[in-house]
């Protein structure tokens, strides 16, 4: 699964695209990501599935488009 990463999360994962093995749902995905990138635990971000920001655990289809959006503050 390919995940698009935005904003300051680049600095944690080192890229704007990351790969993870498939996950059945977003909670599972977050767990995998936190194992791979422990600094994500202390980061604030929202998960989007197929461009929709989700508010709770969501099932993931194999071809789901996933993105992580952190808050931006600059102006």
């Amino acid at each position: 699964m390919t995940i698009k990463v935005f904003g300051q999360l680049h600095d944690i994962v080192g890229s704007n695209l990351i790969e993870v093995e498939s996950a059945a749902n977003t909670d599972e995905l977050i767990q995998q990501l936190q194992l791979k990138y422990p600094a994500l635990k202390d980061s604030k971000y929202k998960v989007a599935v197929n461009r929709n920001i989700i508010q709770s655990n969501a099932t993931l289809q194999k071809d789901a488009e996933i993105a992580l959006l952190p808050p931006f503050s600059g102006g």
Binding site: F6, Q31, Q55, F72, S73, G74, G75
Partner: protein, 378 residues
């Protein structure tokens, strides 16, 4: 349209068949407040003034600095150390003297926000910190004003229209539907710390002006319920569809009185409030207290396991969705080192006015050491 001169000024946009005289009249009748006359605010102001928005407010308490000039191109060398709001107003009047421009040389805070915002129809957020952004968002929700939001992070920028009514949702979506709890100001780097390419706020601020104009005259598809992210390095853009978040309303001030009581600086302050911290002795009393609930806020698989006392597990980032599990009057949180539990305590304190919140100082790692020592002594 009052005069031929006025028609002439706006002729090239009036020519557009989607625009016309009616749209120009709407613009001339609308009042827009731009908060922050910096990287985002300057370009937004220039285009809104040029387009003929009838009344423009400019709120900023800062002065022009040399390191602003690479992106805040409204200003020049002669303006250094002068009030941004006043200098911007003067320059913008030279651009368009047929509209009303009001300079507020002050920091917009909750004490003055409702009076100022109430005088306008739409607010454009061009600020650079979370305390201002959440304050402006909450004010716009309470005062029922659409908010044209923009923000940047290094080479990326965001634009959205918050708090604008639509037919889909039962209430308008606002910034707290995306991030209900304000991040600390040092949790996310701003331009002063992370750096910014000068052109980027120019692009994003101009997009904010564009969204504002579309919103006023009712053409196209403004970014209502959508947040657009633009990447200046590869020119990609990505739209996120927003949805209502139940926690947003709970964490927002209920009315103007509650809004005035909010301490936005504190909410976003990196100064950690450690008044929630308790030592092992007090912790040991509380775990025996039938009026207390003890919560492990670590992730579910984290070591060491705790079986010395009764507790429940709710990881920090799930607390907000598990408020119903927290019924007792005293709430004691712990984690590995005491850092995350302190964050949890601050969050719980925001969620519950009527509970006493405690965080175990030094975390369970330190507590276990002491527990082992005591066991050895016995």
């Amino acid at each position: 349209m009052n005069s031929d001169k006025q028609y002439k000024r706006y002729e090239r946009q009036i020519m557009l068949k989607e625009f016309g005289v009616a749209a120009q009249k709407k613009l001339l009748q609308t009042k827009v407040l731009v908060v922050g006359a910096g990287g985002l605010g300057c370009p937004a102001l220039q285009y809104l003034v040029a387009a003929g928005v009838g009344t423009i407010g400019i709120a900023d308490d800062d002065v022009v600095s040399l390191n602003n000039l690479h992106r805040q191109v409204l200003y020049n060398m002669n303006d250094i150390n002068l009030s941004k709001a006043e200098v911007a107003a003067e320059k913008l009047r030279a651009l368009n003297n047929e509209i009303n421009i009001v300079a507020y040389n002050l920091r917009l805070i909750n004490k003055n926000a409702s009076e100022i915002i109430n005088a306008f129809d739409i607010v454009v957020d061009g600020t650079d910190n979370f305390s201002s952004r959440y304050m402006i968002n909450d004010a716009c929700v309470l005062l029922n004003k659409p908010l044209v939001y923009g923000a940047i992070s290094k080479f990326e920028g965001q634009v959205a229209v918050f708090n604008a009514k639509d037919e889909v949702n039962k209430r308008a979506i606002n910034y707290r539907d995306l991030f209900p709890v304000p991040p600390k100001d040092d949790e996310v780097l701003n331009c002063a710390d992370a750096g910014v390419l000068g052109v980027l706020p120019g692009i994003i601020g101009t997009m904010q002006a564009n969204e504002t104009i579309k919103l006023i005259i009712g053409i196209g598809k403004p970014l209502v319920n959508t947040i657009l992210t633009y990447n200046a390095l590869d020119n990609s853009s990505y739209e996120f569809n927003l949805s209502l978040n139940e926690n947003a309303q709970e964490l927002s001030p209920k009315d103007l009185a509650a809004f005035l009581e909010m301490d936005y600086e504190w909410l976003c302050s990196s100064q950690i409030n450690n008044s929630f911290e308790i030592d092992a002795a007090k912790f040991n009393n509380l775990i025996e207290d039938s009026n207390a609930i003890v919560i492990d806020v670590r992730e579910k698989d984290e070591q060491p396991f705790v079986d010395e006392f009764e507790h429940i597990q709710i990881p920090l980032n799930e607390l907000i969705n598990n408020q119903k599990a927290i019924e007792k009057e005293n709430v004691v949180v712990f984690c590995q080192s005491g850092q995350r539990s302190l964050q949890a305590a601050q969050l719980l304190n925001e969620l519950f006015n009527d509970k006493h919140i405690y965080s175990l100082k030094g975390g369970i790692a330190e507590w276990k050491k002491q527990y082992a020592l005591q066991a050895n002594e016995k």
